[in-house]
C-alpha cells in the first residue's frame, strides 16, 4: 500500500456521507438520544436534579428565542449583522453551565448561549452587532471575555490566562471556545502546544458545526478533530454537541481535571450550524437541504423536551411558561435594540490608551471643534 493510499483510507471523501459524521458511533459521548431517551455512558455519569433539567431546557429555549429575534432584527435593518447559533444551543449551554463562577470563558463571536449562562445581558451582545460598541459587556465581572473575531486568537488568551491561574495557585480553569475551521489556524495549534507543555488549566471546546462558512470539515482535517489532541499530548473526546446533558458531563469532567492540575482536554462537540454562517451568508450555495433535514431530527431542544415530557419532569404548563418567558425576552430585546442610543463620537478617542497621548487628545479636540462648527447651520 502506498503512503497516499494509507492517508486516504482514513478520510471520508464525501462530505457528510461517512460514519464519523453520525451520532451513535462508539466514540461519541451521548446521554440523551435524538429521540430523547436517557442513556448512560460508562465514563460520564451525570447527576442532575429535575430542577436543573428544567433549567437547562429553559436556557436552550430562551437562547434560541433570543437568536431568532436577533435574526429578525437584522432582517429589519436594526442590526448590521447577526451570527446565529441555531442548532448549537446545547453545545453552548452545556459548556456554559459546566463553568464554575471563577472559571473564565473565552468565546468566539457566536457563543451567545454561553454568554447567557454567564449572565451577560443579551442587549450587551446585541450592541456589538448593532454597531454601537466594539466590546459590549464587562469581561471581568462576567468571567466571559469579549468576543474574538480573529479566528482562533482567543485560544492563546485562554491559555495565557490559565498560566496566570497556575501562578496564582487558583483552583479555576479557562474554557476556550473555537470552531472546526479554527483548528487549522497556527495560533490554535500554538495554544495547544503551550497548554500541553505547561499543563495549563485550559479546556479547548471545539464546536464542530461541520462548516467554516462554506468550507466543510474535510478541508480542515484528515482525522476526526478530537483525535488531534493525542498529537499534542492530552486527551481528546468527541461528544454529541446536540445533547446538552452529555456536553455538560464531558465539560464538567474536563474542567475538573484542569482545576486539579491534570492539564488540558480537547472537547469536540459534534453539532451542526442549522442556520447561515451569518445573516450575510447563503448556505444554499454550498450544502444540500437534505443535510439540514437530517440534522433537524437531532434538534437539541426537541430531544430534551421529549425527555422531560416522557419522564414526567415537565408538563405542558411548564413549556407554556417558558414560551411566555421567551416572548417577554424577545419583546425586551426588540425594544432595547431599537431604543439603543448611538454612542457619542468622542468615545472613539477615550480608551485607545490607559494613558492618553497628547496627539490623540489634540485629535479629539479637533473632532469636537469640527462638529461644533456645524451648530446653528440647520443640520
Amino acid at each position: 500500500m502506498t503512503a497516499l493510499q494509507q492517508t486516504t483510507e482514513v478520510v471520508d471523501p464525501v462530505p457528510g456521507a461517512g460514519a464519523p459524521h453520525l451520532p451513535g458511533q462508539p466514540e461519541l459521548v451521548q446521554l440523551l438520544t435524538p429521540e430523547g431517551e436517557r442513556v448512560e455512558h460508562p465514563d460520564y455519569a451525570l447527576d442532575v436534579s429535575d430542577d436543573e433539567l428544567r433549567g437547562l431546557y429553559r436556557d436552550l429555549a430562551l437562547v434560541r428565542r433570543w437568536d431568532v429575534e436577533a435574526t429578525a432584527l437584522q432582517r429589519q435593518g436594526e442590526l448590521g449583522i447577526w451570527a446565529s447559533l441555531l442548532g448549537q444551543e446545547a453545545a453552548q449551554v452545556g459548556a456554559g453551565r459546566a463553568l464554575a463562577p471563577d472559571d473564565m470563558a473565552f468565546p468566539t463571536y457566536r457563543e451567545h448561549g454561553v454568554a447567557w449562562t454567564r449572565g451577560v445581558d443579551p442587549l450587551h451582545v446585541i450592541s456589538l452587532f448593532r454597531g454601537v460598541d466594539q466590546g459590549g459587556w464587562d469581561p471581568v465581572a462576567t468571567h466571559f471575555n469579549l468576543y474574538t473575531v480573529v479566528i482562533g486568537a482567543q485560544t492563546l488568551h485562554a491559555t495565557g490566562y490559565a498560566m496566570g491561574l497556575q501562578r496564582d495557585g487558583a483552583e479555576s480553569a479557562t474554557l476556550a471556545f473555537l470552531g472546526d475551521g479554527a483548528t487549522s489556524q497556527g495560533e490554535v495549534n500554538e495554544a495547544m502546544i503551550w497548554a500541553a507543555t505547561f499543563a495549563a488549566p485550559v479546556v479547548f471546546f471545539c464546536q464542530n458545526n461541520q462548516y467554516a462558512i462554506s468550507v466543510p470539515i474535510e478541508r480542515q482535517s484528515r482525522v476526526p478533530l478530537y483525535q488531534r489532541a493525542a498529537g499534542f499530548g492530552f486527551p481528546g473526546v468527541r461528544v454529541d454537541g446536540n445533547d446538552v446533558l452529555a456536553v455538560l458531563a464531558v465539560t464538567r469532567a474536563a474542567l475538573a481535571a484542569a482545576r486539579e492540575g491534570s492539564g488540558p482536554t480537547f472537547i469536540e462537540a459534534f453539532t451542526y450550524r442549522m442556520g447561515a454562517h451569518t445573516t450575510s451568508d447563503d448556505p444554499t450555495r454550498y450544502r444540500l437541504a437534505s443535510e439540514l433535514e437530517e440534522w433537524k431530527l437531532r434538534d437539541p431542544i426537541a430531544r430534551l423536551k421529549a425527555h422531560l415530557s416522557r419522564a414526567g419532569i415537565a408538563d405542558a404548563d411548564f413549556f407554556a411558561s417558558v414560551d411566555a418567558e421567551g416572548d417577554e425576552l424577545a419583546a425586551r430585546i426588540r425594544q432595547g435594540t431599537v431604543e439603543m442610543p448611538d454612542p457619542a463620537g468622542t468615545e472613539i478617542f477615550d480608551h485607545v490608551y490607559a494613558e492618553q497621548t497628547p496627539e490623540l487628545a489634540r485629535q479629539r479636540e479637533e473632532f469636537v471643534a469640527y462638529h461644533a462648527s456645524f451648530e446653528g447651520e440647520g443640520h
Binding site: G164, R167, I193, W194, V352, E355, T357, P358
Partner: protein
C-alpha cells in the same frame, strides 16, 4: 549611584530591578532562560527568579504574545522578548489585532501592560531577517506605543518605565549598540519615557534620530563642527507618541530639519515627522525637511549593508543639501 554600563547590561539590570519591584512581572521568550537570550540580555535572571517568572517558551512568537495577553488579563505584566526584529511578524496578528485593541474594546476594563522587546536595526553583518527596522508598522497601529533607546541610561530606566506603564509598548533595542558603554545614574531617571531630548545644541540644522542612529547623528554633528557648521541633534526616544515640541522649538530657530532612520524612507517615521514639522513650522522653514534612511529595498546582504544604512557621510550630505537650498 553612577555606573558605567553597556546598553545590554543596563537592560539586564533594569529588567532585574523591575522584577524585584513587582512580582507580577514575567519575562517570556525564546532561549531567555538558561542561555540568557541570544544577546544575553536576560542573563542570570531565570537562575534568580525561577522558571515561572523567566519563561523559556516554545518556539512560536504568536504563542508568546497571545499567552501574554491572557497573563495580562489575569493581572501580570509580561515582558516578551522577540529574538530578532524579523521574527516579530508571526506575532504581528496578536500584536495588532489583539494587544493593541483590547483596552479600547473593553473601554478600559482590561489593560494590556505588555512590553515587547525587539533588538532592531542592522550593522551586525547578519543573515536576512536579523537587521530590520519595523517601527513604522507598530507606530501606525492605534493602541500601541513605541520607544527606541539609544543610551545605557535610557535602557536601564526606559525598560523599567515601560514595564510600569499601563499600555502595550514596543521597546526597540539598538542591537548593534548593545556593547557600547555609558554612564548610568541608578538613582535618578533621565526623564519621562515618552519624551524627546536635545542631546547636542546647535544653530544651523536640526537633526533628528532615534535608537542606533543617534550615535551616527552625533558623529555627523562632530564632523560638521570641524567645518564650522552647528548641528542640533535631538534623540526622539519615543516613536509613538512622538514628542515633537522640542523639535518645533529647534526648527523655528534653525529653519532646517533632517530626519535620520535605518528604516526605508517611504512611509517611514521621517515622512510623518516631515509632515508635522511642515504643518507647524511652515513659516520658519528655510528648506524642505529632508530624510535620510534605508532604501525601499529588502534589507541587503551584509556585504552591502554599509551602503544601505545611513552613515555620517549620508547625514552630512543631507545637511549640505538642506543648507544649500
Amino acid at each position: 549611584m553612577a555606573e558605567t554600563l553597556t546598553i545590554g547590561k543596563a537592560l539586564n539590570l533594569g529588567l532585574r530591578k523591575a522584577m524585584e519591584d513587582d512580582a507580577k512581572v514575567v519575562l517570556m521568550g525564546e532561549d531567555i532562560g538558561k542561555l540568557g537570550g541570544v544577546f544575553r540580555i536576560t542573563d542570570g535572571l531565570q537562575k534568580d527568579f525561577g522558571e515561572a517568572r523567566v519563561v523559556d517558551t516554545p518556539l512560536a512568537e504568536a504563542g508568546i504574545l497571545g499567552t501574554a495577553v491572557g497573563l495580562a488579563m489575569r493581572g501580570y505584566r509580561p515582558v516578551c522578548e522577540i529574538q530578532f526584529d524579523g521574527f516579530v511578524f508571526p506575532a504581528y496578528n496578536q500584536i495588532v489585532t489583539q494587544v493593541a485593541k483590547i483596552h479600547a474594546r473593553s473601554k478600559g476594563r482590561l489593560q494590556m501592560p505588555i512590553v515587547i522587546r525587539i533588538p532592531f536595526g542592522g550593522g551586525i553583518g547578519a543573515v536576512e531577517h536579523h537587521s530590520e527596522s519595523p517601527e513604522a508598522y507598530f507606530a501606525h497601529t492605534a493602541g500601541l506605543k513605541v520607544v527606541a533607546v539609544s543610551t545605557p541610561a535610557d535602557a536601564y530606566w526606559g525598560i523599567q518605565q515601560a514595564i510600569a506603564a499601563p499600555d502595550p509598548i514596543v521597546f526597540l533595542e539598538p542591537k548593534r549598540r548593545y556593547w557600547e558603554k555609558g554612564a548610568v545614574d541608578t538613582d535618578t531617571a533621565p526623564g519621562p519615557l515618552f519624551g524627546s531630548r536635545v542631546v547636542r545644541g546647535g544653530d544651523d540644522v536640526t537633526v533628528l534620530a532615534y535608537g542606533p542612529m543617534v550615535k551616527t547623528a552625533l558623529q555627523a554633528a562632530e564632523a560638521a563642527a570641524e567645518e564650522g557648521r552647528s548641528l542640533e541633534v535631538i534623540d526622539l526616544r519615543t516613536v509613538s507618541p512622538l514628542d515633537l515640541d522640542p523639535v518645533f522649538d529647534s526648527v523655528r530657530r534653525t529653519g532646517r530639519c533632517v530626519v535620520v532612520h535605518e528604516a526605508p524612507v517611504t512611509l517611514g517615521l521621517g515622512a510623518e515627522i516631515a509632515a508635522r514639522v511642515t504643518e507647524t513650522c511652515f513659516h520658519s522653514l528655510e528648506a524642505p525637511v529632508l530624510r535620510v534612511g534605508g532604501y525601499d529595498t529588502p534589507y541587503p546582504p551584509s556585504k552591502l549593508e554599509e551602503e544601505y544604512l545611513p552613515d555620517l557621510d549620508r547625514v552630512l550630505d543631507a545637511v549640505d543639501r538642506s543648507l544649500g537650498f
